[in-house]
Amino acid sequence: MFPDPAPPEVAQAADLGGYPWKPVNTAEDANIAEPEDGWAGAIVCADTQPSAAFALCRALRKREQPLEPLILVVDHRQLADLDLREDLFDDLIVLPLRPGELAARLKLSFWRVGRGTRPELVEYGPLVLNLETYQAAVSGKPLDLTYMEYELLKFLATHPGKVFTREVLLSRVWGYEYYGGARTVDVHIRRLRAKLGEEHAHLISTVRSVGYRFGQGRW
């Protein structure tokens, strides 16, 4: 976190999110203080020393392993200064800081770069999909899915509550490689429901004369 000493309200917000941090003033400081498994991200407060802050951002980006996510904290009068500096940061927070906002943004950024606590998991009710290992489980019991069943479930579970037509599912999940037209979708949905078992088959609902929806509708 830049600068050293860290602004108390930002430090507090980081603590609130449960993220351990160290204050630094230069890229050199950052290298020296770097933990063995590397920095997970950076918070740069540019409100007091803008030039030094942007220099640090640039230096962190030029590392062999560019440091990201990098979250910039700025005063609202500095917004114009960000023009053409988009490459230096991944997200920004405009002061005054609201409690919880920093933690929420950190969480989101970590998820985006795939370094969240468990970014590869998709969870919905009793269903858990591990996108990294291609495994799915319902109520802790592994589901033995074929490749296409897995791909279909993954697509549905990552878009809960949304209704998809058979055509959309065909083009998004199967691409060009399919036999048997849109009926293929019905067949696979039926297979997925069979594997989910009677208790959880309702996770995928049929929306009459439209298509299918995973989970509850939004209204």
Binding site: D144, Y147, G180
Partner: protein, 476 residues
């Protein structure tokens, strides 16, 4: 983030085409690792529809997925050739499935699994140069389905598979197999072992992604039926092979023998595999025409007409054993006469009434096949016969009105109603003269099948049966 993703979205479809197989293989390999699968069975089917499996270890799997596994085809019925006998089993990664049952498949080679996770993957068999192997039944069906696809049709099948549970497969001479119960149609009995077996079978199938539409106790003692939910014919033929395995394995776990023999008990109905078929053009049921008095489109009528015209020629395949013809006799709801009807269960082709307001469920039911046929070859021939009817624009004969069994031979002759072959011998003769069957099966399968069935018939005719001993020995 958003701009970066944009060009990716534009190219993703091309990418998917190239990377599809790779991703499927990756999925299979990763799942094997994550789930601790110890053996992977490579499944394929011989010409007579007997399931074959080669078990390999996860270490061998990656190579098998990429290059296929070489094996000696001469050990498999119908695969033997004069020269080169080595062929390749090429796993179809889309069919990879962890098996919810413990044991190895029938005729599995290699070590038993010993309680570890076992998975299967269905294979296409190819020559060493990668061209489809002409003796592979799955290839016969794939080729025929492809022909339909070129005309814009997808072909769906939904079989009703009947089978018996018996105490044992070993039946001493002069006795009959012992049924597990004496329950009849829809009967519910307490502590019903056979019913319990059927339930476990259905649950296992559902876990394997084979949806069961319906299951019930059938007419005969210990006879049961499992109806599968429709899917495309190639996947369905794979499913039929899985069902046979699961039914037998689940029974075996409880010390019971399950059989798909077409007619195991004299005086009782045999085991058929009535199969519902439909063609779709995209999202539209091609058989359906709500304006037609029968609800059938021109395509639907042509399909039935073609199937009826070629029914006698394809019977050697849909009913391929000497014993199959003991089922196709009058009086047991098995078809005997070449005819079609809507609500007449003695007809060979039935057009079941579709649910009100669901014209997309229009289909035809072909009632000849028995549970011991090779589903790949049977589905391929039904499709080929139907397509021929559509292409040639055959006229649909009139619907069979009366109960065909009650008509006299003269009445049937007057109506132009032919009979299905009454023996394997007659069926093979009819098949031998069929250009349609030769073209659909391909020269290799066609020749081998005829030779094999002639030999079976010759062997059978030389037998002295229990029937003869009981009837003639005391009197003559």
């Amino acid at each position: 983030m958003i701009p970066a993703g944009f060009p990716q979205a534009l190219t993703s479809q091309t990418w998917r085409m190239e990377a599809g197989t790779e991703r499927q293989n990756e999925y299979v390999l990763r799942t094997v690792e994550e789930r601790g699968v110890r053996f992977v069975q490579l499944w394929f089917t011989d010409v007579l529809g007997v399931q074959k499996a080669v078990s390999i270890t996860p270490a061998e799997l990656e190579n098998a997925l990429e290059e296929g596994l070489t094996f000696d085809g001469s050990a498999v019925d119908g695969f033997s050739r004069v020269q080169e006998s080595d062929v390749l089993a090429r796993p179809d990664a889309r069919t990879f499935q962890i098996l919810p049952i413990a044991g190895g498949g029938p005729e599995a080679t290699g070590n038993g699994a010993g309680g570890h996770q076992v998975a299967r993957v269905v294979c296409d068999v190819t020559n060493l140069d990668g061209t489809p192997f002409e003796g592979d039944p799955r290839n016969v069906l794939r080729r025929t389905v492809e022909r339909a696809r070129e005309k814009g049709f997808s072909f769906y099948a939904a079989p009703e598979i009947e089978y018996f549970y018996f105490a044992d497969s070993d039946v001493p001479a002069g006795t009959t197999p012992i049924p597990l119960d004496n329950g009849s149609y829809f009967e519910l009995t307490v502590a019903d072992l056979a019913g319990d077996l059927r339930k476990r079978t259905v649950l296992t199938l559902e876990e394997m992604g084979i949806p069961v539409e319906y299951s019930q106790h059938e007419d005969s003692p210990s006879q049961h039926e499992i109806d599968l939910r429709y899917t495309d014919a190639l996947a369905m033929a794979d499913n039929v092979m899985s069902v046979r395995l699961v039914v037998k394995e689940v029974a075996q776990e409880r010390g019971v023998y399950a059989t798909f023999m077409p007619k195991p008990l004299y005086g009782f109905q045999g085991s058929g595999m009535h199969t519902h078929f439909s063609l779709f053009e995209g999202d539209t049921n091609a058989f359906c025409d709500p304006g037609d008095p029968y609800g059938l489109s021109k395509i639907g009528r042509g399909f039935i007409a073609g199937l009826l015209r070629h029914a006698r020629e394809i019977t050697a395949v849909t009913n391929q054993w000497v014993n199959s013809y003991k089922r196709l006799v009058p009086g047991y709801e098995a078809p005997v006469y070449v005819s079609w009807a809507r609500n007449n269960r003695s007809a060979l082709v039935r057009v079941p009434p579709h649910k009100r307001g669901k014209p997309e469920s229009t289909r035809i039911e072909y009632r000849a096949p028995d549970s011991a046929c090779n589903p790949y070859l049977a589905f391929a021939l039904v499709l080929a016969a139907g397509l021929d009817g559509i292409e040639e624009g055959y006229d649909l004969p009139p619907e069979a009105a009366a109960n065909l069994y009650e008509m006299t031979p003269t009445e049937r002759l007057a109506e132009g109603i032919e009979s299905l072959p009454s023996s394997l011998d007659e069926a093979v003769d009819l098949m031998e003269r069929s250009e349609l069957v030769a073209a659909t099966l391909g020269e290799h399968v066609f020749e081998w099948f005829l030779r094999n069935k002639r030999a079976e018939w010759a062997d059978y005719t030389g037998q002295v049966t229990n029937y003869e001993l009981a009837r003639y020995l005391p009197r003559l």
